[in-house]
């Protein structure tokens, strides 16, 4: 029981509860269904991204190129649809974006698995490369008014409508994509040998090799999969915003990584859970969206998020260090 309470998930969950109570008591709007739906809508894209980042971090790597992959997939898909099949249903858009993302992710995987290059270096390089190539070769103008109609209708669709005192609150079906990805990643990590091999790789690469895991194949899967779901996340982002702006998303990768780390994944690899990551995302989204409700100016939100990250990741680290020191005295 003690162990559960001291776990990172519990810590983040408690922080969320207190933050909600604090905000909600000062501004009751926070506790309305409308606000809940807004928060969920804001979590859709970050939730998908975070699942990809989680997998990479568990494997002991890091990927900072996923936002570039996402915006590349979104913009290229929109261009393709406009050029060849403007009337295609939304599912086609998602499939194309996912395939583009997969292809870009496999480029990362190639450099990482084949040449054994550090993952940060590779993905920093491809972040620039993918984004630069997008702006240079595919386009740099935001597609706003003339997006394919399927995007517009998807943006307006609702999963659930709840009447409010003023108007109605709508829940966007995009949340189903996030839920699907989350369940898939959870099953993958907990109940497949492939998922366990990702934990094994992050725990000890050498032992994983000796145990007979095919490291290159695992890495191709990891970075390919991250590319794939980044493509989906990019398309989701575009269809929520009803536009394809080649400057969107890039630059937000660190806040996604921060949310994942806040949720207990360790950058040294081998550790991280889906539940923890979801809590991390929720915390960051609440801080992002709801501080405004209690009058915190938007410029201060970034400071608050920074403090949450420092405290949230610092507290467990200090705790671990204390435990380590105690053990040092006993075990020499």
């Amino acid at each position: 029981m003690n162990r559960i309470l001291r776990s990172n998930e519990a810590l983040v969950a408690i922080t969320i509860v207190f933050l909600c109570l604090f905000i909600g008591l000062r501004n009751p709007v926070f506790f309305t269904v409308g606000n809940l739906f807004d928060l969920l809508r804001s979590s859709i894209v970050m939730g998908i991204f975070a699942m990809g980042v989680l997998i990479v971090i568990i494997s002991g790597g890091i990927d900072v190129s996923f936002t570039a992959i996402a915006v590349f997939a979104l913009y290229a898909t929109t261009k393709l649809l406009l050029a060849f099949s403007p009337e295609a249903p939304i599912i086609v858009a998602f499939v194309i974006a996912a395939l583009i993302g997969l292809g870009l992710g496999l480029i990362n995987a190639f450099f990482i698995a084949r040449f054994k290059l550090p993952t940060l270096i590779v993905t920093l390089g491809t972040l620039s490369m993918f984004h630069g190539f997008l702006l240079f070769a595919i386009g740099n103008q935001t597609i706003r008014r003339d997006v394919p109609p399927a995007l517009t209708s998807f943006a307006r669709s609702t999963l659930l409508t709840v009447p409010q005192t003023r108007g109605v609150a709508n829940l966007h079906p995009g949340i189903l994509i996030t839920i699907g990805v989350v369940i898939f990643v959870w099953l993958l990590l907990s109940y497949t040998m492939l998922g366990r091999s990702i934990y094994a790789l992050g725990g000890s690469r050498e032992a994983a090799e000796r145990a007979g895991f095919n490291i290159a194949r695992i890495q191709y899967f990891i970075y390919g999969f991250v590319g794939l779901i980044s493509g989906i996340a990019g398309m989701t982002f575009g269809s929520l915003a009803r536009q394809a702006n080649p400057q969107d998303m890039v630059g937000t990768e660190l806040s996604v990584i921060a949310a994942v780390v806040l949720g207990g994944a360790q950058l040294t690899g081998g550790r991280g859970t889906v539940i923890g990551t979801l809590l991390g995302v929720i915390l960051v989204v609440i801080a992002n969206n709801s501080l405004i409700l209690i009058g915190v100016p938007s410029v201060w939100q970034r400071v608050v998020i920074g403090i949450i990250i420092l405290v949230g990741t610092g507290a467990p680290a200090i705790q671990a260090k204390r435990a380590g020191n105690a053990a040092f005295g006993l075990a020499e």
Binding site: R196, A211, F213, G270
Partner: protein
Amino acid sequence: MAEELLRLTNIHKSFAGVHALRGVDIVIEPGKIHCLVGENGCGKSTLIKIIAGVYERDQGDIMIRGKSYPQLHPIDAIRAGIQVIYQDFSLFPNLTVAENIALNEELAEGRRLVSWRHVREIAQEALAKIDVKIPLNARVEEVSVANKQLIAISKALLNNARLIIMDEPTSALTEREIRSLLEIIHGLQEQGIAFLFVSHKLNEVLAVSEKMIVMRNGRIVSTGDAEEYDTARLIFEMTGQKIAQRSYRFTPEEGSTPLLRASNLKADETLNDVSFDLYKGEIVGVTGLLGSGRTELALALFGMLPLDAGHIEVEGKAAKIDSVQKAVAAGIGYVPEDRLTEGLFLEQAIGNNIVVRTIDQLRGALGLTSPAQVNGEITEWVDRLRIKTPDPDLPVKTLSGGNQQRVVLAKWLASSPKIMVLNGPTVGVDIGSKNELHDLIKQLAGEGMGLLVISDDIPELLQTCNRILLLRDGRIVDVILPEATTENELAAKLIEE
């Protein structure tokens, strides 16, 4: 002769022209504990890898249980029941005990999905085989080294092991843990499982083995029943030379002030009322089990462990040592046990490592160092301590263990300390270079330095020290004179409860 588990005949192996194995013949019998000893670089690890199928032999024959293997792949070796437990155990620190045990089995079964019930069953069954209880849901990083070793063994048994090869099985274990490990091993022996220990820690090896296999320069130089060997003979076989074992005698001058006087040192739970004197030219040994306070004593003298009570005098003057800087200023040097992480900058040049502590004194008028002077200093120490390297500009990690230890010593000696505390000065060092290091320690004492040698290597203590302090639960429980004791007597005292 009907019972042979493994027979190697005339095995040869070369790497890029270097003849690592030159006609090795060995026989492993079922249910026996064999021990393979030899100095670093004698071909031990190459031999193991050939048995495990990791390396392909150039020549020779391998028979496992009467069956000849013209080609032996790792999977063949595993199927034939040969399991190697490497020194780092190849475990995953972030996964649970159960999953670590079951992982190989699941891979072998070709599973794609994980059944956690199946994982637990495999793990329970494996641990039941050696009759130990380790919490299955604990992460491996949370369990002790001894338990990690048991996990590795139970993992090996899952694959119907008939021969378990263990690389340095008892390093990092306390005496008590070694004893319970041996009990388990004896139990497995009765089921006909053979063991091959690979080690260079001699006294433990002698205590447990039934068959000795001694290697030198790629050849087996001696095999036989363990009773026929003692430490002196093993050293002779391993090094090919008789190494004289003389102890170090010392009597302080009448009425001289001790170089170091520690009175009633107390720190937390780890040191309790520790008092001793160290005179100029003395070599005092400090020994005890892991957790007896031996390392804490060193840390306290070097200002890294705050004292709750007691005081330290250096040359008759009270010295308040509460930081490393103050210890250094008082003339105390410390060579840590883990030289790789605490004593050296591995990636840096040998020369830089030697002068790192004295670089301030080598500065000229403008505060700049003169390369000629620095190089002079480096060459002097490389020569004096006979550090074997073609070029002091090479990184320290290119050196062997013994030579690395010399670099650590050179680093301290360059700043001419009065007192040196050496923690495990020859851990992981070959017997040949070990002896040279011992001579060096005696030479330093002869030049008037006072040395404190912290070690659990009993022959080492008897050979180098003129007095040995025995620590238990943070107290000095005995002071032993080497000339008045024997290896066995000291070993027995060490593990007394």
